[in-house]
């Protein structure tokens, strides 16, 4: 995942072919799904709460998972113990390592609202060894890399995170990485096409 050629090949592999499962047409959404979308959309203050993204319209074919995904989204708005900017750092690195163009592009945009610059997202691509991270930020990125490489956070990284974070935050990090890796696996596997105007790996 280092060179421009690799990135282009990955994007072709994941979104260069048609979506594998079609979104549920609007008129086939069940009343349960429709009610959930309305309730959650208004909780989040969305302008058009009844419009589903393609991703959620595919998930609507499995109403239980659909509900869980929406509720997890709400939780991340309200119940997360990790400060938003640190959380996005972990999510972006996860999307990058998972080779997930949809998730990467979406979260670069979310990160931008939290003040991430192009230089910041370029540095997320470069990883924990890049210049300019604080020792706490570097530890967050190291934790993500270690989870991908050896499925466990090392002692040194754990000790560094512990200097700043409480127990709930420490518990949340591997859950968060796993959660977004799961979403990446699903979106990659479904060949979720990029939303209109979205740019996938080209987003910085």
């Amino acid at each position: 995942m280092k060179t421009a050629d690799n990135i282009a090949a990955r994007e072709a592999e994941i979104i260069g072919a048609p979506i594998r499962i079609e979104p549920l047409p609007d008129d086939e959404l069940g009343s349960e799904v429709r009610e959930l979308v309305r309730r959650i959309g208004s909780t989040l203050g969305l302008e058009a709460p009844e419009t589903l993204t393609t991703y959620f319209a595919v998930l609507a074919r499995h109403p239980d998972l659909f509900r869980l995904q929406l509720e997890t989204g709400i939780f991340l708005f309200s119940g997360s113990a990790i400060p938003p900017r640190e959380r996005e750092l972990a999510v972006l690195r996860t999307a990058w390592l998972a080779g997930a163009p949809y998730e990467w592009g979406q979260h670069v945009l979310i990160g931008r609202e939290m003040g991430f610059t192009e230089a910041d997202t370029d540095r997320v691509r470069a990883g924990p060894e890049a210049e300019g991270w604080t020792s706490h930020e570097k530890a967050i990125l190291c934790a993500v890399d270690e989870l991908f490489d050896r499925q466990m956070i090392s002692d040194a990284t754990w000790a560094e995170l512990k200097q700043t974070w409480n127990e709930a935050q420490l518990i949340e990090l591997p859950c968060l990485v796993g959660q977004y890796l799961g979403v990446a696996m699903l979106q990659n596997t479904l060949r979720m096409p990029l939303a209109r105007d979205a740019r996938g790996f080209a987003e910085r």
């Binding site: 989870l147 127990e167 591997p174 859950c175 799961g182 696996m185 990659n188």
Partner: protein
């Protein structure tokens, strides 16, 4: 894992187990008397869903009592667990997948716990051993092989390849196909958490050597 592992993986099993669970938990579990009514209710609802008897706070596994230190994450996990346990993928197929995940993640707690669950769901001791040899073992039928390949591809490449997808789609409907990568992600996440928190093995769980 950064490569797709279709066969046996070579690692020093006792060394890995020492690394993960040999040095005490990194976060102490909540003591039984600190478990609140809401958390106990969640645990027993999940147990009821799996057909198990209710427990008292002192008998809740350490893993759950540790996760309770983050009540929102704990509640999400319990709900996700219930949804998958009562999901669309048949239990034996789900457990074959989880065993391969636990093995590839070299996760002593998850592996040991799911050897027991898998056996209750009809996986034989010989099949448990065969899971460690992966989809490459010639004894699997085409559908079981596709499940294992799917796990191997998701763990190693974070996506399922065309031929594996086509094989799964011969037996599974769309809801099952959507559930599969989500379920794999959930159990990879569980391995990440249990490994990273160094959740100690329960007395009856021998970890990675279990068959």
């Amino acid at each position: 894992m950064s490569a797709i592992e279709r066969g046996g993986i070579s690692f020093d099993l006792p060394e890995r187990q020492r690394q993960v669970v040999g040095d005490g938990p990194r976060i102490a579990a909540l003591t039984g008397d600190a478990v609140d009514r809401e958390a106990l209710g969640l645990v027993n609802a999940v147990r009821a869903g799996a057909g198990a008897q209710p427990v008292t706070p002192d008998n809740i596994p350490d893993y759950m009592r540790t996760m309770m230190k983050h009540p929102e994450v704990f509640a999400r996990q319990m709900e996700m667990g219930t949804t998958i346990f009562t999901g669309r993928i048949p239990p034996r197929e789900r457990e074959l997948a989880i065993l391969r995940i636990g093995w590839l993640c070299r996760a002593p707690y998850e592996w040991g716990q799911h050897v027991d669950i898998a056996k209750r769901m009809g996986v034989t001791t010989e099949e448990v051993e065969r899971v460690t040899r992966g989809s490459a073992d010639p004894a699997w039928d085409a559908h079981d092989k596709a499940i294992l390949r799917g796990v191997e591809e998701l763990v190693g490449d974070h996506a399922i390849a065309d031929d594996t997808w086509a094989m799964l789609a011969q037996s599974w409907d769309e809801a099952q196909l959507i559930e599969f990568p989500m379920m794999v992600g959930q159990y990879v996440a569980t391995a990440y958490v249990q490994n990273s928190l160094r959740i100690m093995l329960a007395e009856e769980n021998p970890g990675l050597s279990y068959r």
